[in-house]
């Protein structure tokens, strides 16, 4: 019984947050604190609730209501996603109480608090819906509310276009989801998800494939899989940073949740080629996502592209799990699924941390362009350390959480070789190679972000006058930074939890063996990993080494100018810039980027005296240019042509009526006689 109270307690707290935001609208400070802290409180309840569900049994509760029957059904998988949501919301809410100070006086805080709370409730309801109608209502409510959050600062020029692309793409996605659900409704006759699962088994293979493809495209648009990703680099940077932390951290994961739900629970993941499609899409999204992130110099756009990359990595895990499930190996499928879920959890945390970091940079320097930053580690030391921890975990470096999930994904791809037929082996190894390249490029991209952004001398006035982020922001980021470290060091607490969840849809319970020192081995094999041991060793060596250095050799450390082959190098002019840093990668993949550059030279009096040279180089978004623009142009030209129908002359209009009458007559006469 306590579980019911807990669940409705969560919803109640969010509603209180939303209501208080509206009531206290006038007084910015109090309103910010009340609405966001009540969200934080609710997320704490959420964490307790979801863990009790994962280790307890499923929770279902039906609300009676005429034609629209709303009901909740939370099994282990949806409880996991409520857990992810709650963890993210907890830290981001605390962070937001500090971050929204930037909007005091300028923007309506009550409106932001209200939308923020409704946004979270809609996500939790999506994870716990038990019938198609309720699901679609809260799903689109989530997209609509996040649209309003994206266009919160709609005075900025680019925001409206970004918001429009976002809402239209999500609407197209919902269209596909609608068709896929309708195929289930068509066979089962009712809207309830249980009957979907039953209908899914009994459908003809063609209908199953259609349902799967439509669901994949629909949820893929929301997740940001490559061909459908173009809204993500527009929408996330425009939203306020605390919201884009939630959107990148959690909202795109809800789409992954539904892909798992549809392919495993509803359709039983019986077709092998589904797995290959998901794997291929994941691999392409990973590599293209990171390629565009590397050459991006706007922080939040870079983080948005890197979200596409991480979604790709998660999908590689899920694709592999579907391939193994179809090949009848539940153990391997469980391991791959655990790798995917672990990376999903890690990504929500370190991406949330990085977006909060970007927010604090924006908060203090009012610029998102890495080229203008520099030297922030001296001005914002505390947030620099926290962001460094985020960067280390996104580059999957050992003591941090990213390493564990990337290691697990590699191991699950390696398991492909127990399938003893050649096709999966080759596909999985190619995907492993691409994943490795993605990992290395991720390290490259985030090294550029941290190195150019935080180290050496500030490159602009903004960066010089930067000041440390306020305490709530630091607390929020601190929570996530410590979490990403803990998730890296103590996987043996997280893996049993994930084993239970993976078992709920792949059917295999114990896929890891745990031994002392926090090591875990893959399915009683010999490959094992123990990050506490690695961390211990690194620390021992570090302390040992620094002790030795401190004792032997000379102590003096004179400070002098940086070496510049003799000339004085005191300005930030000849520091490396972000574009220069990513130049090698741009040269390596130039036929993907198709870099376009224009130089304009304005001459003063004679052609020999150049007054000024303006240089501008741009990277082409290939997919957007060659896939989306032709379609939009086609639609526009046909609509322009179609407008001649309404020419204005009444005679033409009467002619239309006469024409339809004649056509119908022929239709009846011909139809009638036969």
């Amino acid at each position: 019984m306590s579980v019911n109270y807990l669940f409705f307690g969560i919803i109640a707290f969010y509603l209180i947050g939303a209501a208080s935001a509206v009531i206290l609208n006038k007084k910015d400070a109090i309103c910010a604190y009340v609405s966001f802290l009540s969200a934080a409180m609710a997320s704490l309840l959420g964490i307790i609730f979801s863990i009790s569900i994962i280790f307890g049994d499923t929770f279902s509760y039906a609300l009676s209501g005429g034609y629209l029957k709303f009901g909740f059904f939370i099994d282990r998988l949806s409880a996991f996603f409520i857990l992810v949501i709650s963890i993210c919301v907890f830290a981001v809410s605390i962070y937001s109480t500090g971050y929204v100070r930037e909007y005091f006086g300028k923007k309506n805080i009550g409106y932001l608090g209200f939308l923020y709370n409704i946004f979270i409730i809609s996500m939790i309801l999506v994870a716990s819906a038990d019938n198609a109608v309720m699901f679609l209502i809260v799903w689109e409510l989530m997209s609509v509310v996040s649209y309003f959050l994206v266009v919160y600062e709609h005075e900025k020029p680019g925001t409206r276009k970004a918001g429009f692309i976002y809402i239209v793409m999500t609407h197209i996605g919902t269209g596909f989801i609608l068709v896929s659900f309708l195929i289930f409704v068509g066979t089962s006759g009712s809207y309830n998800f249980e009957t979907f699962a039953a209908a899914g088994k009994s459908m003809t293979p063609l209908l199953k494939d259609l349902a799967f493809i439509f669901a994949l495209i629909g949820f893929g648009t929301k997740a940001g899989i490559v061909p459908l990703h173009i809204w993500l680099p527009y929408a996330h940077p425009e939203a306020p940073s605390n919201v884009s932390a939630l959107m990148s951290g959690v909202m795109i994961k809800i789409a992954i949740f539904m892909i798992i739900r549809v392919s495993f629970d509803f359709l039983g993941a019986s077709q092998a080629w589904w797995g290959y499609v998901v794997l291929a899409l994941g691999t392409i999204s990973a590599i293209l996502g990171i390629l565009y992130a590397v050459v991006e110099s706007d922080i939040k756009r870079m983080l948005a592209f890197s979200s596409i990359e991480n979604i790709g990595i998660i999908l590689i895990g899920i694709g592999a799990s579907m391939i193994f499930f179809a090949a009848g190996k539940p153990l391997l499928s469980a391991i791959a699924a655990i790798a995917a879920l672990y990376h999903l959890l890690n990504h929500s945390i370190f991406k949330g941390l990085l977006f909060m970091g970007a927010g604090s940079i924006l908060f203090s320097t009012h610029t998102k362009n890495i080229e203008d930053l520099g030297g922030l580690i001296k001005k914002m030391p505390k947030s620099a350390i926290l962001i460094l921890m985020g960067v280390l975990s996104i580059c999957a470096l050992p003591p941090f959480s990213g390493f564990i999930s990337e290691w697990l994904t590699f191991q699950s791809l390696l398991l492909g070789f127990n399938l003893n037929n050649t096709f999966p082996m080759i596909i999985l190894s190619i995907s492993a190679a691409v994943l490795a390249l993605t990992g290395a490029l991720a390290a490259f991209c985030f090294l550029k972000f941290f190195g150019i952004g935080f180290l050496a001398l500030p490159r602009s006035k903004h960066a010089e006058h930067a000041k440390e982020a306020n305490t709530p922001m630091l607390i929020g980021m601190g929570i996530f930074a410590s979490l990403s470290l803990l998730l890296g060091i103590l996987p043996f607490y997280v893996l049993p939890l994930l084993e239970k969840i993976a078992a709920s849809f792949t059917g295999n319970l114990d896929s890891f063996t745990f031994s002392n020192f926090g090591t875990f081995a893959i399915a009683s094999g010999t490959t094992s990993l123990s990050t506490p041991a690695i961390l211990g060793l690194v620390f021992i060596f570090m302390f040992g080494l620094s002790a030795i250095i401190f004792l032997i050799g000379r102590k003096r450390q004179p400070v002098y100018e940086t070496w510049g082959c003799g000339q004085p190098v005191s300005t930030s002019r000849n520091e490396y810039t972000a574009t220069a840093f990513s130049k090698p990668v741009q040269m390596w993949f130039k036929n993907l980027y198709r870099p376009a550059r224009e130089t304009e030279t304005t001459y003063s009096t004679s052609p020999y005296l150049k007054e000024s040279i303006k240089f501008e180089s741009r990277i082409e978004q290939v997919i957007e240019l060659h896939l989306y623009n032709p379609i939009v142009d086609f639609v526009m030209t046909t609509t322009r042509k179609a407008k001649i129908i309404q020419t204005g002359s009444i005679h033409a209009y009467l002619g239309y009526i006469f024409g339809t009458l004649v056509i119908l007559f022929i239709f009846v006469i011909a139809g009638g006689n036969t």
């Binding site: 005429g66 629209l68 239209v168 309404q646």
Partner: protein, 484 residues
């Protein structure tokens, strides 16, 4: 019982004539519409409890379906009268309308209400007379402002609708001819009750011909595709409360006529012929609405085309048939009436404040008129069928009927058109609502009454999207029993 309902608007109309000041005419008009609403709702309850009511030597008749139409007419009429107090008051204050014109407006407004109520309750095939009268009264309403464009729109409306109606008359004659062969010369050969009872013995070819003429006739009035050309001009040029009534309710009355004949014709010709026709016309209206919404410069015309789209959806709903299809179509009638009038009221406020109907000349409505801007956005999301609102529920029911009855291609096309319309509609709407307000616009709402009217509608739009009251559900199921 029904006579009082019809008498109420006529009385208010006459009383409005006798008033002398703005305050009086507004007070009378408001009380009149409240009385009509109360009578309408009591009629609905009456029908809900004890089935069909006949009166006045059963030329006036009210079964579940006509009660449903009366309900829609009285609700939207009531809200429109509140809105017109604010809207016309503002026009009066700014000297665009003098007292005489204002009084004419209110008289014609209530006459218009009377004609639409009459459509709902006439028993025999006099339905044609009622719909013809609606055309006449609304044409007069349109030429209230003697602007060039409204005169042109009124003329086109008059001519095209009268031509359409004449075809509908021919269809009625053919049905009467079919009925006379079975029922003999008796007077009630035209009444719905007797017609439906004996509908399956009619001669199929006559009924096919009759249904074609009816479909073209009342289709012109309902704004179905090739005959919709008058709709954008008429609905965008009429004064806003009238265009809300036109779009929200009058189209439904025409659709009521089509559905009445659909039930009669499909009994003899078999549903395959009639439902295919309805689906084709529905898809055509949806298809034609798409280009005109995407590349539209005038926001009232955009709303008019969206009415063409929604009438197409209702036709498709009825065409799909089955309890889901018909339930969805009827629910859609109600939802569309509410949402469309909300959108027209919002655009009316924008028109009053900015003075222009051009989308590019309006921006930052959320900043200058926060409440109207918010309601426009809610209405925009609702009208294009995004889920948290009621239109999505009816569209989803129609779609699931499509998949259940096996019209897969039609439903997928239907979905594709809706998404394109969403894109076009939202592009224009976001251009208007967001960004910074144009210079010279003083921030602040137009008038309290307009917001009150819109608030009532927002409640309907929002609540029906999430919770379907069982009483309402029962009522529609009764109507479905009548129609199917």
């Amino acid at each position: 019982m029904i006579e009082y309902l019809l008498l109420a608007p006529i009385l208010t109309g006459i009383l409005c004539l006798l008033t002398r000041s703005r305050k009086q005419v507004e007070a009378i008009s408001l009380t009149g519409s409240v009385v009509t609403l109360i009578l309408g709702v009591s009629l609905v309850i009456d029908v809900y409890q004890n089935g069909i009511i006949m009166s006045w030597t059963n030329t006036l008749f009210a079964d579940a379906f006509s009660a449903f139409i009366v309900l829609i007419v009285s609700i939207v009429g009531f809200v429109a009268s509140i809105y017109s107090v604010g809207y016309m008051g503002h026009e009066f204050k700014h000297g665009i309308l003098d007292l005489r014109k204002l009084k004419i407006y209110y008289v014609l407004f209530h006459m218009f209400m009377f004609t639409m109520l009459l459509v709902g309750v006439t028993n025999n095939l006099g339905l044609w007379i009622a719909i013809e009268m609606t055309t006449l009264v609304s044409a007069l309403l349109m030429i209230l402002y003697s602007r060039k464009s409204s005169v042109e729109a009124a003329w086109k409306y008059m001519i095209i609708c009268t031509v359409g109606i004449t075809f509908a008359l021919f269809g009625t004659i053919l049905t009467y001819y079919g009925a006379v062969k079975i029922l003999g010369e008796s007077g009630d050969a035209l009444n719905w009750t007797s017609l439906i009872a004996v509908a399956d013995q009619f001669d199929p070819t006559i009924m096919k011909l009759a249904f074609i003429f009816i479909l073209i006739g009342y289709g012109t009035k309902a704004g179905l595709a090739p005959m919709h050309t008058w709709l954008p001009d008429a609905h965008s040029e009429a004064p806003t409360p009238v265009s809300a009534l036109l779009s929200g309710v009058l189209l439904n009355c025409a659709m009521y006529g089509i559905i009445r004949f659909y039930t009669i014709a499909s009994k003899s010709t078999g549903t395959e012929f009639t439902s295919n026709l309805l689906i084709i016309f529905g898809l055509l209206s949806l298809g034609i609405a798409v280009p005109f919404i995407i590349l539209q410069e005038d926001y009232k015309r955009m709303l008019a085309y969206s009415s063409v789209e929604h009438m197409g959806i209702i036709a498709i709903g009825i065409g799909f048939g089955g309890t889901f299809g018909v339930f969805g179509a009827l629910l859609h009638m109600f939802n569309h009436a509410m949402t469309k009038s909300l959108m027209f009221f919002g655009s009316g406020n924008v028109l009053l404040k900015h003075g222009t109907k051009e989308i590019n000349k309006v921006s930052g409505v959320v900043k200058s008129m926060p409440v109207t801007g918010a309601m426009l956005l809610i209405g925009g999301l609702a009208i294009t069928g995004s889920p948290p609102f009621s239109i999505f529920i009816s569209e989803f029911t129609i779609l699931s009927a499509g998949f259940l009855q096996g019209h897969i291609i039609a439903s997928v096309l239907f979905l594709l058109f809706i998404i394109m319309i969403f894109a076009g509609f939202f592009y224009n709407l976001s251009k208007m609502t967001f960004g910074t307000p144009k210079p010279g616009i003083i921030p602040g709402e137009v008038s309290k009454m307009t917001l009150g009217a819109m608030a009532i509608l927002v409640v309907f739009v929002f609540v029906l999207g999430i919770y379907m009251p069982p009483v309402f559900y029962e009522m529609i199921m009764k109507v479905v029993a009548v129609v199917k």
